[in-house]
């Protein structure tokens, strides 16, 4: 019981990270109908920017708790958003209206470029950091087994909920959000009604990248070690989450992320750690075959 409780806490905090990345996938898919294959690597870039900012702060002797973490988050969000914007501008925008595999191939190219760019510029070795927020609160005790809810996990959950709330407000209450939803429904009509669709798409990438940066920073704080390859697996799993929740649906992405996080954690805890990635991949395959619209998605009609 206590063991399951601990897994539940771990699963939810992992799922929040996946959910944040999945929102980026689902947003881009909703608006331009492409799978942004490089999104996982944007998440990795976010984690690296957070790491470097953290080290800069440490060198400057400015390491005191929450303020520092907030600063790290902000810097990471801004720079990663710049990456998201540049990627869209360089590799996706020229391909609007090109043949149907072109954007996806271009995205795969960008994913390879980002991974190897970080490998060349930062080295291939994993980068460990020490735990910034050690400790946590004891939730329950079962003999020698103590269920811990660490401060970092609390931070992840609180922060993710905060960011997602802000994001929901942005999508539902602001002119930009309205423009985004309009583009999602009908891009041509939106542009006829005076919406700058190119700008809206750019901003979608910027927001998606900023959310991925939050996820990347959280990942760095929670696991304490990153390398240039973390984006691949995290990206595939977050994509699975987006598909499971119903691609194009924002609440679906978060729900899918939570489910994937829980399934992965419980699978590793009770079945086998070696096959935990197989679990995520199998869910992806099964969802796409049997439930292609996902849990909260809507049916897509193919138009000629």
């Amino acid at each position: 019981m206590a063991y399951a409780m601990q897994q539940l806490i771990n699963g939810i905090s992992l799922g929040m990270i996946y959910g944040l990345i999945a929102v980026g996938y689902t947003m881009v898919y909703g608006i331009i109908g492409m799978i942004n294959f490089a999104h996982g690597d944007v998440f990795m870039i976010g984690a690296f920017i957070a790491l470097i900012t953290l080290l800069l702060l440490q060198m400057g002797g400015l390491m005191d708790g929450p303020a520092a973490i907030l600063l790290v988050l902000l810097v990471s969000m801004v720079i990663t958003a710049l990456y998201g914007w540049s990627v869209e501008r360089v590799a996706y925008r020229p391909l609007r209206g090109s043949f149907r595999l072109a954007p996806l191939i271009s995205a795969i190219g960008i994913s390879i470029v980002l991974q190897n760019y970080v490998q060349v510029s930062q080295g291939a070795r994993p980068k460990p950091i020490e735990n910034l927020l050690p400790g946590g609160i004891e939730v329950m005790r079962d003999g020698p087994f103590v269920v811990q809810f660490s401060y970092i996990q609390m931070l992840i959950i609180a922060l993710t909920l905060g960011v997602l709330a802000a994001f929901t407000l942005l999508v539902t209450r602001t002119p930009l959000g309205r423009a985004m939803r309009a583009c999602e429904q009908d891009r041509k009509m939106a542009s006829l009604l005076g919406i700058d669709t190119d700008r809206t798409i750019s901003l979608t990438f910027v927001i998606g990248a900023a959310l991925a940066a939050v996820a990347g920073s959280m990942y760095l704080l929670r696991y304490g070690v990153i390398d240039f390859y973390i984006g691949f697996l995290a990206g595939v799993k977050a994509f699975t989450a987006a598909v499971l929740g119903g691609i194009g649906s924002l609440p679906g992405a978060v729900l899918g992320g939570l489910l994937i996080g829980l399934i992965e954690t419980f699978w590793s805890a009770y079945f086998s750690v070696q096959y935990k990635d197989v679990a995520a991949f199998s869910i992806l395959v099964l969802t796409l075959i049997f439930l292609p619209t996902g849990l909260l998605g809507r049916q897509e009609v193919e138009k000629v």
Binding site: L101, L284, L288
Partner: protein, 427 residues
């Protein structure tokens, strides 16, 4: 755009570049003497990169402004020149490949590179059937390569079967898996299909990695038997039962290398021949039609499922052949050789070769694999160049460098149409 505007635009691009590179290039994290991470600054590189972006952006805007003045609709002179050149490239390459072992100055090292390049040429041609002809983006192609390699290794290890029996078996098994994996997923749209094939590729690799009793797990399988010359082994003994003894040659270790070279050369040519022949048949035409517009295909009564499945199975079969060859050449295989990166390399070769062009794939493999093999030490830049080239090709010439279309039926004279001019529906 006036020069002043162009300058401002370039300065803006350089500013963005500074934002991108300042942290990730300008500050490098390393493990310090105390065990923690330290930062090392490299501002010169950042300045260099920003300068390159500034100059590049300026050149592009000025050049694009001039080109817009003389926009044409026909095939560009560049394309025409490439086409004229293309007629000679294929025979020359073929002759070079055929004569390579006999050329002076070609030692064991050069032949090894030749074998490697030809392996990728074959894989590229195999994947070209799936991606280039049928338009199904397969990101897990390496899984079939792995299945071929493991089929041969396991059949040889457990049943003592020889290479020549296992080669067709490996191809059949890979094709079987291709059908098995393809069947449920071929209903999916193009980009979903890509992700699912990626997932399959990873599942196969993780299973190979963890099924230690059968596959040896991360240690792989070693001592895979070398191929024989139709039953005559290559060895140094000079017995009448060995290759050298039977033909009355001086025993030499290079015999096996030359044999392997011609083996993969033959396999690659087989792949190419099958593809070229199939392209002229209803099946091949159906593939290409499918790539252009799936809905139109369905409306015209083409059976989408079998068409896709045959492309998948044939591509997988050639991947399986290549895998069996890989296993016998290396004599050692492990899951390490079959990661996603490998799939990405093969896909990059097909894309750079210009989706669907046979010569293009061969040239891309030669340049990307052979080129980086020659310039050792640039290894870590290899994938950066691969990925960058994929993006550049997609942005500038999405139909490939040498892509042309020949109409099946024409009024009067048949003329090749440049790939630039062929629009495409969405399917």
């Amino acid at each position: 755009m006036t020069p002043a505007q162009a300058l401002r635009d370039a300065a803006l691009a350089a500013a963005v570049a500074f934002g991108l590179f300042a942290m990730l290039v300008g500050l490098r994290t390393d493990i310090g003497p105390a065990g923690g991470l330290i930062l090392r600054s490299r501002w010169a590189e950042v300045a260099l990169l920003c300068g390159i972006v500034f100059a590049g952006r300026l050149a592009i805007t000025l050049w694009a402004g001039r080109r817009a003045l003389r926009a044409t609709t026909g095939p560009t002179p560049f394309t025409l020149a490439l086409q004229r050149l293309g007629r000679f490239v294929a025979p020359v390459l073929l002759a070079l490949a055929l004569l390579l072992p006999a050329l002076p100055g070609i030692g064991r090292y050069e032949l090894d590179i030749g074998i490697l390049v030809l392996t990728y040429v074959m894989l590229g041609w195999g994947l070209n059937i799936v991606v280039g002809l049928a338009g199904l983006l397969d990101l897990g192609y390496v899984a079939f390569y792995a299945i071929g390699a493991y089929s041969y290794a396991l059949l040889a290890q457990y049943f003592g079967l020889s290479f020549w029996i296992c080669l067709p078996l490996a191809g059949i098994l890979a094709a079987f898996w291709g059908v098995l994996l393809g069947f449920p997923v071929l209903r999916l749209r193009g980009d979903y299909l890509a992700i699912v094939t990626l997932a399959f590729g990873e599942i196969i690799r993780v299973v190979l990695l963890n099924w230690t009793e059968l596959t040896g797990g991360p240690n792989g399988i070693s001592g895979i038997p070398r191929p024989s010359f139709f039953g005559l082994p290559f060895n140094m003994s000079g017995d009448p039962d060995s290759f050298a003894g039977f033909f009355g040659l001086e025993p030499s270790p290079s015999h096996r290398i030359i044999f392997l070279y011609y083996l993969i050369f033959g396999l690659a040519l087989l792949t190419n021949w099958v593809t070229i022949r199939l392209r002229r048949q209803p099946l091949g035409r159906a593939w290409e039609a499918l790539r252009e517009d799936e809905i139109a295909c369905r409306a015209l009564g083409i059976n989408i499922t079998t068409t896709k499945l045959t492309a998948f199975a044939l591509g997988a079969m050639f991947g399986g052949f290549a895998g069996a060859f890989f296993a016998t050449r290396q004599a050692f295989i492990s899951p390490e050789s079959f990661t996603f990166i490998e799939s990405a390399i093969i896909l990059a070769i097909v894309v750079l070769g210009g989706l669907g062009s046979q010569v293009g794939v061969a040239i891309a493999a030669l340049v990307m694999i052979g080129g980086f093999e020659v310039f050792r030490g640039l290894d870590e830049w290899r994938m950066l160049v691969f990925g960058g080239a994929m993006v550049v090709i997609m942005v500038l010439r999405p139909r490939g460098l040498v892509g042309t279309r020949t109409p099946s039926i024409a009024l009067g004279r048949k003329r090749a149409i440049s790939g630039d001019l062929v629009g495409e529906g969405h399917g």
